[in-house]
């Protein structure tokens, strides 16, 4: 299901699943609300929830349906990660530039994601809250070197000032499209591709089950 969805031939629609990972309070929700609703801390936000949001994009004539899955960031839910991020095409790992710990968490996530999903997933590391630059506790140099070393892109954003968010998602989508296209080419014609993709998914399931030690829904 890497690039499933309707449409045939040239104007095909891509459906991507993107997970949002990061400690609580780093601004995951604000980020995604800013992107999908262009609102921040607004009393008039009408959306009922900000944990599952979708966005339709058109990038160079290619239609993209983006499904953004928020995950619970509290430490106690850390072990549930694999259930959330299986089958995702992209992951956005958010940290707070004023909080060194939150960056350490991101490193843990990256390690886990690479181990479970390999290089099929496009990673974005995001330093949020750059409006609080004066309280910065995470060095720019360090984060960018790290991102490069793990094959991820690094971004600086501010959900409050609406900085860097549009670019982040646009860039991520482009990379996911490239991945999907490379996938298609590698697997030949489109008809057999989806079927094999589904089986591939199941193999990942088994791994995830081992990792999460008896996850409830990972088999089958």
């Amino acid at each position: 299901m890497a690039a499933g969805g309707g449409g045939t031939g040239t104007n095909k629609t891509y459906s991507f699943k993107v997970v949002l990972l990061g400690e609580g309070c780093v601004g995951k929700t604000s980020l995604v609300l800013r992107y999908c609703e262009n609102k921040f801390n607004d009393k008039h936000i009408t959306t009922l929830q900000a944990s599952f949001l979708t966005k339709k994009l058109n990038i160079g004539g290619k239609r993209v349906n983006l499904a953004i899955w928020d995950t619970a960031g509290q430490e106690r839910f850390h072990a549930l990660g694999p259930i959330y991020y299986r089958d995702s095409n992209g992951a956005i790992l958010v940290y707070d530039i004023t909080d060194e710990d939150s960056f350490q968490k991101v490193k843990n996530w990256v390690k886990e994601l690479r181990k479970m999903l390999g290089n099929e997933i496009s990673l974005c590391i995001v330093g949020n809250k750059i409006d609080l630059e004066k309280d910065r506790h995470v060095s720019v140099q360090e984060t960018e070197t790290y991102a490069e070393s793990v094959g991820a892109k690094h971004y600086h954003t501010s959900a409050k000032q609406n900085k860097g968010i549009e670019e982040l998602f646009l860039d991520l989508c482009k990379r996911m499209i490239e991945n999907a296209q490379a996938d298609e080419r590698a697997k030949g014609n489109g008809s057999s591709q989806s079927a094999t993709a589904r089986r591939g998914v199941q193999i990942i399931d088994d791994e995830a089950q081992v990792q999460s030690s008896g996850g409830c829904c990972t088999s089958g």
């Binding site: 959306t47 009922l48 900000a50």
Partner: protein
Amino acid sequence: MSLKSERRGIHVDQSDLLCKKGCGYYGNPTWQGFCSKCWREEYQKGRQKQIQEDRELAERLQREEEEAYASSQGAQGTQPSLTFSKFEEKKTNEKTRKVTTVKKFFSASSRTVPKKENQETKAPSPSINRQVSIETEQVSKEFIEFLKPCQKAGHDVYKQCKICLEAMQQKREASIEEQSEYVQDFYHNTAEKLQLRWKMPSEKVEDVMDHIEKFIMTRSYKHVFCPETTDDEKKDLTVQRRIRALHWVTSQMLCVPVNEDIPEVSDMVVKAITDIIEMDSKRVPRDKLACITRCSKHIFNAIKITKNEPASADDFLPTLIYIVLKANPPRLQSNIQYITRFCNPSRLMTGEDGYYFTNLCCAMAFIEKLDAQSLNLSQEEFDRYMSGQSSPKKQDAENWPPDACLGVKQMYKNLDLLSQLNERQERIVHEARKLEKDLIDWTDGVTKEVQDIVEKYPLDIKPKPQPLAAIDSENVENDKLPPPLQPQVYAG
């Protein structure tokens, strides 16, 4: 066996052990008192009759179904190609029937029920199967109705579904994974065919796929939900017990951002609980998913009312866990497995329903692994609560907000009172036990003292200095008595 029990003194009459038919062999209670030979004869008679009846009924039903389908198709149009393909379908049915005849008679979903009521009364055994088939019939009817406008494509889909169902029946003995794989492949191939061969727009394909899922899963549900070949049922019970053992978990421990003191919120919580429990009653994976989604929406509402901002996953997951703990939904594990195995994967992996379903899986995984740390409790506290020795401190009635419900306040006061009473009663019982012990100790002490003294001063019976007097010498003593007073007469 019987010899042994006789020796132990249980009396079994010899005639009770013999075959009821009087053939001279021993009978057996499991064969209703017959010997094996006579039982087989008796049983076979009834069974043969039943099989014959079932076979007749099944054949009649099949004929009727085909006629019904033909007439519903005939009303649509009279293309010659259509009738030909129908003929073909009949042929395939005929072929497969030979293979699965015997199995079919004893399975509920194999054939639909009579269309007319008068035939229903003739039915030999009105059992649970009957009700199931009514639902099955309903779904078949709807499915045919739905496919009518699709003309040729619809007919093809119906044929394919029939083949799929037959194959599922044959796979009944196979592992559930194999069956799941088969259905998933079927979904995939059918969707592709609809798109490429019949050139359907993608929205229409989704619609048709939903109906296919409904048709196939309603008819296979009984055999693939919580199948005997897996340990799903055992796991269900484990989960249920686990949730029951966790009854003491409060919303504070899970940091649930929901304030149930607000009537609107508690209303939402109740609705969410109802929805998640309702999931078990649905048959189609998609309907089950819809229940989860409804439950999630109610949770979001509850959070929104409490916090006045859109709920994030940080809020949602703990609340869902809390709801699952409160609801203890029946057969949670089986339902999750069933949805994973037989839901159309495109829906499960990307859509909103899929997101909520994933969260439910997370909630269950969390509950299974929950420990002291995940509730911010110390290990001792956790163990004490788990073993039921104590329960988390309740809120003091005095600290309640003034607008809290009076009844609830009163209830907590009463609870307090009860626990005080309980304490006092325990104290009384304790004191009483002590008193009893004291009494026993005292008796024992006295006995011991007496014994000690007895040992210290052994009882020496010395011979009486005088020999015993004769028995009839009672009056000896009397001799020593002074003479009785005599009345004296004084002068005057």
